[in-house]
Amino acid sequence: MLVSAHIAVWGTSLLKLLAAMLLLIGFAMLAQRRLLTLIHLLAWQGFVLALGTALVALLTGQTELWYSAALSLGLKALLIPAVLHRLLRRLKVRGDVEAVINIPTTLLLGIVLVIFAFSLAAPISALTGTITRGMVGIALAAVLLSFLMMITRRKAISQVVGFLAMDNGLFFAATSATLGMPMIVELGVALDALIGFVILGIFFFQMRETFDSMDLSHLERIREE
């Protein structure tokens, strides 16, 4: 162990707090009506993720996790939200998110999902190391909450935010369950996320060109015949 016992105790409880924050941000995203705030929340989530990864790196002495934390910070907390922000302004998307289900109901559904995630992850958590115990459940819950967000939102951008939030949840799962995937896989995943993001950007402009709107209700023409 590289760090003193005192720091370890503090670090572990801080890590737990960060994990819980991740969950909280997941819920805040579900409750959020404004697109701009949604993007800010995404950035915060990325930041919390980076901080959490760095903390795990500090506590376990895994050097690879430092790279992962730096990657998260650069990509998920700074670059992607900034680009989304720019996109939002370039495309002049109007500010509100229209939800399919009203927000309190969505939040209650979210609680149900979290309980489901916790019970599913409980046996896995029991096997993880002491530092990250219980966090797989939170990561899975964050992933499921992002699914819920993607399902209940109409605007393309908010679905993308849900998609990226899901990615954050998965990264957190990798960090907490396995102390990070092998570096080459992690790089591959990050590369895919980046390419996917670029493709989405192109896609937004195509959509804009064709529909003059980012509302997905335009995308409901194909019906089962």
């Binding site: 737990k16 924050m21 939040l107 309980i115 966090m135």
Partner: protein, 313 residues
């Protein structure tokens, strides 16, 4: 014997301190908003004035209307003997755990709502319905926050919770952080503070608490107002007991009393300042957003509970 002394001391202290705390809060807000404060003793003067005035009973009301102010006051006074504000393990403390305490507050609310409906005026009914709208969500949120603390300390008695939490020293518990946030939101809602209600307005579009007590006057109004002030102090007291329990004296330990009083004063000053800042910074929510505010509080409470189960802290 000393424990009994503590009991009497705390009960009287809460009773007398409540208007002072309210006055401090008003003053702080006024200063923050660049208004001239009315002086920290203004609530005492108001109460005194009201006690000297004649009480007018609204026409067509039943005994319920007249009994409610006394009942409210009695309920709050009883609660003042239970919450460990100055000391834990008071002789009255075993009378009610946190759940019973929530029940006591609920009882007071039910009477207040019934009395408001009893007047048969549009405002009374309106206020009553709005109060229940907020309460319906606030109570589960409050319970969720309290359960988190109980789970952590394996007890529902406030005194043992305080004792246990005090023994933990400064450890960071995610579940307690969420519970604290939930509790704080409930505190704002239950005590008719901004952003859920504005204690200083009589606009029919927005008022909740004020609409319920419009028909009261004289000593009845004084009792209702006083009860509301005690309630606020009690909520702050519960909040301190749960989330900042350090420095509360065990009952009967006279030597610890000065320190306990000092810490209490300091914490109340800080809490008042925080409340004043929050109320200055936030705008009142539209009434239909109030359930969402409470839903958020409930959510926070539940996340607190869940993270206790998941993270074990």
């Amino acid at each position: 014997m000393a424990a009994n002394l503590f009991q009497v001391l705390q009960t009287l202290l809460v009773l007398l301190l409540a208007p002072l705390f309210a006055g401090y809060l008003q003053n702080a807000r006024a200063l923050l908003q660049n208004r001239r404060p009315a002086g920290i003793l203004q609530p005492y003067r108001d109460l005194l004035r009201l006690f000297h005035k004649e009480s007018i009973i609204a026409e067509g009301t039943s005994w319920l209307f007249r009994a409610t102010p006394y009942l409210l006051f009695a309920a709050m006074w009883l609660a003042a003997g239970i919450v460990p504000i100055l000391a834990t393990a008071l002789p009255l403390a075993p009378a009610a755990d946190v759940i019973a305490l929530v029940g006591l507050f609920a009882l007071a609310r039910v009477f207040q709502v019934l009395a408001a409906m009893d007047t048969g005026t549009a405002f009374g009914t309106l206020g009553a319905r709005r109060e229940m709208l907020v309460a319906a969500m606030a109570e589960p949120a409050l319970l969720a926050a309290l359960f988190t603390a109980s789970l952590l300390s394996h007890s529902t008695s406030l005194s043992s919770i305080v004792d246990h939490l005090e023994s933990l020293r400064f450890a960071l518990h995610p579940s307690m952080v969420f519970a604290a946030a939930a509790f704080f939101m409930v505190l704002l809602a239950e005590n008719a503070r901004i952003p859920v209600d504005n204690p200083a307005t009589h606009l029919e579009l927005t008022m909740i608490h004020e609409a319920m007590i419009l028909e009261y006057s004289g000593r009845h109004l004084a009792l209702v107002e006083w009860a509301a002030q005690i309630k606020l102090l009690l909520y702050v007291g519960i909040g301190i007991a749960l989330f900042l329990p350090w420095g509360i004296a065990p009952a009967g330990d006279l030597a610890a009393l000065p320190a306990a009083a000092f810490w209490l004063a300091l914490k109340l000053l800080a809490a008042g300042a925080v409340l004043a800042v929050i109320e200055t910074l936030l705008a009142k929510l539209r009434l239909f957003r109030a359930p969402e505010f409470m839903a958020t509080a409930f959510l926070l409470g539940v996340i607190g509970l869940l993270s206790y189960f998941m993270l074990g802290a």
